[in-house]
Symmetry: C2
Subunit: 255 residues, 2 copies
DNA sequence: GTGGCTCGTTCGAATAGCGGGAACACATTT
DNA sequence: AAATGTGTTCCCGCTATTCGAACGAGCCAC
C-alpha cells in the first residue's frame, strides 16, 4: 500500500526537502549530522545547506543550520490567500469571545485537516493543535464536518489512502460506523467530537459549504468535557456555530 | 555588488525554489505557464511540480498548482522555536491592549527585519506589515533599534550588503546620518520612526537585548502621526515599551 | 606546545539523473 | 473534423550531482 511514483520524481529536490524535514525534527544540525542521518556525503549536505541558505530558506548559526523565517513569510502568504480565511477570521474571534473556549478554523488538504487559524477564549484548553498542524479528518469535529460534506467518492479515496488511525480509544476506527456517523452529521449539519482526538476534550464542528454544497472548511469550538456537556454540547454551541458558518457562507458568496 | 557564489550551488534546488517563488507571485499557475516564465522545458516543470506536490509542498487544483499549507506548518514551527517569541507574545498583546495601537515583534535575519508577531489594538493602523514580512532594518523603528544594538562590524556589513533604500522621502538614506542616528538610539535606548517607512505612520521601537548586549529582537508600537506626537511619542510610549522589553529580557534570562 | 579529535570546505572524477524536445493522450473550441 | 489548448510520457545526451578523500581550521587534552 505504499506510494507508487509512476513518474520520475526529481530526487535532488527530495533530498533538499529531507534536509528541511530533518531540521524540523532536530531544530538545528551541522553538516556532518545531516549527512550522517540522511546517509549522504558530507560534501553533498554542505552544498545543499549552503544553497538553501543563500536562497534564504535556512539560517546558519555558527556551525549549525536551522530553518529560517522564510517559511513564516510563505506560510502567512498561503493563509492569507485562502479565500475563506478573511471571511472566517472575524467570526472565529467572535465565537472565541462569546464562548470563552478555543475556536479553530480548519481546511482540508491532501486528505487531512489543517488548522489554519485559532482564536483563544479566556478558558481555552491547551491541546496539541497549532496553526499549520495536520490531523486525520476522522479524528476531530471540524474534520468530520468536512469529511461528511465532501463528494462521496472523495470520502472513499481519503479513507482508503489515510486509513482510520486511532488517537484515543474513543476514535472511530470502524469504517461502516464512521459512514453512519457521517450520515448523522449530514442530517444535523454539525459534528461532535467526544474525546476522540484528545482525552478529556470535546468539540463541536460545523462545515462551511460552497455553492456546490461541498465543504473544504469547517469551524470548531473545543473545550474540556466537563464544560462541554448536556445542552451546551448538543444545543447551544451547535446553534452558535451554525449561525457563524451561515454568515461566513453568505459573505463568501458575495465576494 | 552582485552575489558571488564562490562554491557550486545545487541548481536543481534553485529551480525548485524558483517555482515556489513564482507561485507566490502568481498565486496559481499551470505547468506550461511555469515552464514559459522560468524558461525551462514543460517536462522539467511538470516533474518538479509533481515532486513538490507529492512532498506536500504544492497543491494541485485541476490543472493549476499553488502553494500548500505545508508552508504554514513549517512557518509556525519556525516562529514557535524562536526563544524570544514565547516570552514576547504576552507582552506584545498587553501593549496592544494598553495603547490601542498596532504592536510588532521583529527579529533580524540575513540582515533584514522580519515581523514575527503582531497584535492589534482597537485603533490599529493598517500598514503593509504582515507576519513574515521582511523590511530593511534602517526603514523602521524596530529595525533601527535592532541595528543600533548589533556589533559594530555587523552593522557595517549589513549596510554594505543591503544599502539604504528609501521607502518614503523621510527614510534615512545617508550613511553618516544613519550612524549618528543609531548613536542617539543607543543613548536613549529606543528608536523613533517618523514616517520613514510609511507616510503618515510613526512608531517607537525598543530592542530586546541578550546578556551579551546585542539585540536580535525588538518590539515596536506603530500608529498614525496625529496620535503619535508630542509627549506620547517621546515619553509615554518609550516608557511603556522599555518597561515591556525589560521584563521580557528578564524572563528570557531565567529560562 | 603538540598531537589528536571534530568540524566544514574543497577538489577531481565518474556516473547517475536532470533537462530538453518530440510524440502522445485528452479536452475544449471553432 | 480540424485546430489549439492542456499535461504527460518517452528516450537520449550531456551536464551537474554525487561521492570520497584530502585539506584546513578550531578546540581540547595531555
Amino acid at each position: 500500500m505504499g506510494s507508487e511514483p509512476g513518474y520520475r520524481p526529481v530526487e535532488t529536490v527530495e533530498t533538499a526537502l529531507e534536509i528541511v524535514a530533518l531540521l524540523k525534527r532536530r531544530d538545528r544540525a551541522g553538516v556532518t549530522a545531516i549527512a550522517d542521518e540522511l546517509g549522504i556525503a558530507k560534501s553533498t549536505a554542505s552544498r545543499h545547506a549552503r544553497t538553501l541558505e543563500d536562497q534564504g530558506v535556512l539560517v546558519r548559526e555558527g556551525e549549525a543550520y536551522r530553518l529560517g523565517t522564510w517559511f513564516l513569510d510563505y506560510g502567512t502568504y498561503v493563509r492569507n490567500r485562502q479565500p475563506v480565511f478573511e471571511a472566517a477570521k472575524p467570526k472565529v474571534d467572535e465565537l472565541a469571545a462569546a464562548t470563552d473556549e478555543k475556536v479553530w478554523c480548519v481546511i482540508e488538504e491532501h486528505g487531512v485537516g489543517v488548522h489554519i487559524y485559532g482564536a483563544e477564549g479566556r478558558h481555552s484548553v491547551r491541546t496539541h493543535a497549532r496553526v499549520g498542524r495536520r490531523t486525520p479528518l476522522h479524528q476531530f469535529a471540524a474534520g468530520k464536518a468536512i469529511l461528511a460534506h465532501l463528494p462521496d467518492e472523495r470520502i472513499g479515496t481519503i479513507l482508503e489512502e489515510r486509513g482510520l488511525e486511532a488517537a484515543t480509544d474513543e476514535t472511530i476506527t470502524d469504517r461502516s460506523e464512521l459512514r453512519e456517523h457521517l450520515e448523522t452529521i449530514r442530517e444535523r449539519g454539525y459534528a461532535i467530537n467526544r474525546e476522540e482526538s484528545v482525552r478529556g476534550v470535546r468539540a463541536v464542528g460545523a462545515p462551511i459549504r460552497s455553492d456546490s454544497g461541498d465543504a473544504v472548511t469547517a469551524i470548531s469550538v473545543a473545550g474540556p468535557a466537563n464544560r462541554l456537556r448536556g445542552e451546551v454540547l448538543t444545543e447551544e454551541l451547535p446553534a452558535l456555530l451554525l449561525g457563524a458558518t451561515n454568515e461566513i457562507e453568505v459573505n463568501l458568496a458575495h465576494s
